[in-house]
């Protein structure tokens, strides 16, 4: 059995799976249930000034019969009185001292407010802080949340205030509502943050009700942009994560990865691209805390299979595999192959290639089953047919290098090689 425990800047947890700062971590009752289910840690829902929430708060994107492919919310930071949250944090830490208790913070925009809040939380037993510079709704209008994260100068100033006071590790959570997370990430690291986490939610409209003509979620005939999360945002999160893991400044601090993680596989992908722990919210909100069981077991089995003894053995291992386009090997070529024994003659590869790609699949009429064959000379190896094929391993991509040696775009141009393939 592999060891899946995690030590994030001294914050220990029996596994790298934390619940993200969100409704599931707003109360003692929820967090106790989470710890009983096996979660490694929580980031307690953001504490700050007293706020008031609206109804409704959530909406989702359903796709192809699956509910909640994407999810958004317009909920604010914790709307419970600070003293109740602090009291409950103390109680939970006492009951589960082996779990990570990180507290998310969003104080008003002045040094004193931050210092006061930090002191109260440390006294309550917090093991670390996560600075919420990402919340994209409600708090931004008050100059907080994403309004801080979108401006590196302001973010730097707030981190400096925090670092003056905090005696426990500080993680700064970044907003994805920017063209690049690197400038703010760099500013925060330069200001002394001990770690970064990303992504927070993405501003969104999930849909419009075709009867009332009001977008979702509905609040008395109106809606607002909500923060988007869930499986749909995972690819965006992975991209932002990679940029932080590759930048020479930001890569110096550990990262907690967030964004659409639902399974152990998602978690491993985030860790391969540089996350030391991962945070989950939407998947738990959809299925309950029990999903952590398979996350632990799946991670363990995968590590055993690959021979990794601890999570540190593989964290970041894929970061260097994302490169620049001009460094890709132009002589690499592969073509699709259809396994006739597995083919169910659905024609999905054919119509996708014929209508939208390179007309590289031929159709031989049959009644009722047509036969589909790859025209190797016309196949550019784009993967589309393989992606749309409903049968596992029916279409495979077979390597057919153009030439044995590596050559990239820059070299190609320098050597004056022909550009037009057609």
């Amino acid at each position: 059995m592999a060891n899946i425990s995690s030590n994030f800047l001294g914050i220990k947890s029996p596994n790298p799976f934390w619940l993200a700062s969100a409704p599931p971590t707003d109360k003692k009752i929820n967090v106790l249930r989470a710890f009983e289910a096996g979660w490694g840690g929580v980031v307690w829902k953001t504490l700050g000034s007293q706020v008031k929430n609206v109804s409704s708060r959530y909406s989702s994107v359903d796709y192809g019969g699956h509910r909640v492919m994407g999810f958004n919310n317009i909920e604010l930071i914790s709307d419970r009185p600070l003293h109740i949250n602090l009291k409950e944090i103390t109680e939970v830490v006492k009951l589960f001292p082996d779990r990570a208790m990180v507290v998310s913070l969003m104080a008003d925009n002045n040094r004193n407010s931050w210092h006061e809040l930090i002191k109260q939380c440390e006294d309550a037993g917090a093991m670390g802080f996560e600075l919420n510079f990402g919340c994209p709704h409600g708090m931004t209008e008050r100059g907080m949340g994403a309004a801080v994260g979108q401006d590196p100068e302001i973010a730097k100033m707030v981190v400096e205030w925090v670092m003056e006071k905090a005696t426990i590790p500080v993680i700064t959570k970044l907003t994805p509502n920017v063209h690049s997370v690197v400038p703010t990430g760099k500013a925060c690291v330069e200001a002394g943050t001990n770690a970064l986490s990303l992504i927070n939610t993405i501003q969104s409209v999930t849909g419009v009700d075709l009867d009332t003509l009001v977008p979702n979620p509905y609040v008395a005939g109106k809606s607002v942009f909500g923060g988007y999360c869930g499986p749909a945002v995972k690819p965006i999160a992975l991209k932002f994560l990679t940029t932080i893991a590759q930048n020479s400044v930001t890569k110096k601090v550990p990262i907690s990865g967030i964004g659409g993680i639902s399974t152990w596989k998602d978690a491993v992908e985030f860790m391969l691209l540089g996350a030391s722990t991962v945070q989950v919210c939407t998947a738990a909100m959809k299925h309950g805390f029990r999903i952590v069981e398979d996350m632990c077991e799946g991670l363990n089995n995968w590590m055993d299979e690959k021979g990794y003894k601890t999570i540190n053995d593989f964290i970041g291992k894929s970061v260097h595999n994302i490169t620049h386009w001009e460094d890709l090997d132009i002589n690499y070529h592969h073509v699709a192959n259809i396994n006739e024994d597995k083919c169910i003659h659905c024609g999905l590869c054919y119509i996708a290639c014929e209508d939208t790609s390179h007309q590289a699949i031929s159709l031989t009429y049959g009644n009722p089953y047509n036969t589909y064959t790859i025209k190797e000379d016309d196949c550019v190896g784009c993967n589309l047919c393989k992606l749309v094929c409903p049968v596992d391993s029916c279409i495979t991509m077979v390597e057919k290098r153009v030439a044995p040696e590596y050559i990239n775009w820059k070299m190609w141009q320098e050597q004056g090689l022909p550009l037009n393939d057609h």
Binding site: H345, L348, Y350, I351, P368, Y369
Partner: protein
């Protein structure tokens, strides 16, 4: 003893309730619709005689465009609602579904088709607009699936249609010749009314060709005639005892069942059903469900050659019908004019015949079954007399057509009277073909030189 009223009202209701119940909820339909892979040049569509664009109509259920879905079905097959209940889909669309090749349950195409079409009929969505009347008039003989399909296609193009129907209701064998647990009389009536909803179609009921009117009458009064009078009479066994009391043909047995209350239908204690086609299955299962103690199906070939589908065969077996293969009726014996026994030859299979099936030959051995009722379901006979009277060209009394046209000027034909008796969906396609040939004849054909 043959008698009626064998069961309680509740038992009748249970025995004759819908054998393929619909999706109970929209969610259930959506879940199934989302399972469809949306194949290109889909095998299910190719396997449908009317070429319904199955992936498209299923996708439309998934996108909650039920009206569009119903239109996609009806544009290919105006009898699509009935077909969703009576089609032998396991040998048509569902049998071709690519999921079969993955050893997965095929998409429940019929059930999804029923979902859309039932909603369309319930709401009386008229999805086709009839073109302005062209002044052309066409007579159709028979308000069965072929006649109705032809009428609808013609009316859409602005042709005024009159259907002559010998029965008092439309729908043909849908209404009169199919097991009651597949379609209800109410459904058949609703379907006919839905088809007529486009306007421009009149049905004259209780009008039989050769009795109440002649083909010449129609030729004089109309610009064209479409014959869709089907096949009617049950094939005789031509064995001794066929006139005994207790011998009935499956068509009239089912006809009675479909036109009376179940409790009025008399059925024997021990029933033999001759044949193994779809109608034989219907007759056997209905006899059992009316309260017969024993139903034995007698077929002269083996399971390999049986004309019914596996699915239908399963229904008969689940209903507790006994099947004797390689048995051919030789004589029906009686006492006091009433059936008491069925004597059968034991057969064996010889060389393949013209149909490619190995033909049965008597072995010389016989056996007898104690029965008080014999239902004959050995196929249907065409209306030979009618066909002879009007000198319509035929082959073994199946009308000969060339692109839906008979040998008689302005007279077209399709459906069972041409193919000898196939599925509702085949008749519906024949009606479409007939309409297209008639439209071509009415509007595009060059005038013939005198």
């Amino acid at each position: 003893m043959i008698k009626n009223n064998r069961l309680t009202t509740e038992q009748y209701a249970k025995n004759f309730s819908d054998i393929h119940p619909p999706f109970e909820t929209k969610d259930a339909a959506l879940t199934e619709a989302n399972r469809c892979l949306f194949c290109y040049d889909a095998p299910c569509t190719k396997a449908c005689p009317t070429s319904i664009d199955v992936p498209k109509f299923i996708k439309q259920i998934a996108t909650e465009n039920v009206k569009g879905s119903a239109h996609t079905i009806f544009v290919s097959n105006i009898m699509g609602a009935g077909c969703s209940k009576v089609c032998p889909v396991e040998k048509l669309c569902e049998g071709a579904c690519v999921y079969n090749l993955m050893e997965e349950t095929p998409i429940h195409i019929a059930k999804l088709q029923r979902y859309s079409t039932e909603i369309a009929i319930q709401n009386n969505w008229q999805l086709f607009e009839r073109k302005k009347s062209t002044g052309k008039k066409v007579a159709i003989v028979g308000a069965g699936p072929a006649g109705l399909s032809c009428a609808h296609s013609l009316s859409r193009e602005g042709v005024d249609v009159t259907i002559y129907e010998k029965e008092s209701k439309g729908g043909g064998l849908m209404t009169y010749g199919i097991a009651a647990y597949k379609v209800t009389p109410q459904f058949c009536e609703d379907e006919v009314n839905y088809v007529l909803g486009i306007g421009g179609i009149e049905i004259k009921y209780n009008q039989a060709l050769g009795k109440d009117f002649s083909l010449d009458d129609l030729q004089k009064k109309y610009d064209a005639v479409y014959l869709a009078f089907g096949v009617g009479l049950a094939r005789q066994l031509d064995i001794p005892g066929e006139n005994l009391q207790g011998v009935e043909d499956a068509i009239s047995f089912i006809y009675n069942l479909r036109t009376n209350h179940f409790s009025n239908i008399a059925v024997g204690e021990k029933v033999a059903v001759i044949g193994m086609g779809m109608t034989a299955i219907d007759a056997a299962t209905q006899a059992k469900r009316l309260g017969a103690k024993e139903v034995t199906m007698v077929y002269r070939r083996t399971q390999e050659e049986m004309p019914c589908t596996e699915h239908e065969f399963e229904i008969a077996k689940l209903d507790g019908c006994r099947i004797i293969w390689l048995a051919a009726p030789k004589e029906i014996k009686g006492d006091n004019g009433k059936v008491t026994q069925l004597l059968c030859d034991v057969m064996q299979l010889g060389e393949p015949d013209a149909s490619g099936r190995r033909s049965p030959k008597p072995t010389g051995k016989t056996f007898t079954l104690d029965v008080d009722m014999v239902i004959k379901a050995a196929g249907q006979m065409p209306y030979n007399e009618l066909i002879d009277t009007y000198n319509i060209q035929h082959s073994k009394y199946k009308l000969t057509i060339n692109n839906s046209a008979t040998n008689i000027k302005s007279v077209f034909a399709g459906g069972d009277c041409v193919n000898g008796g196939k599925e509702v969906v085949d008749a519906s396609q024949a009606g479409k073909d007939g309409a297209s040939a008639i439209l071509n004849y009415l509007f595009h054909a060059k005038p013939q030189s005198e």
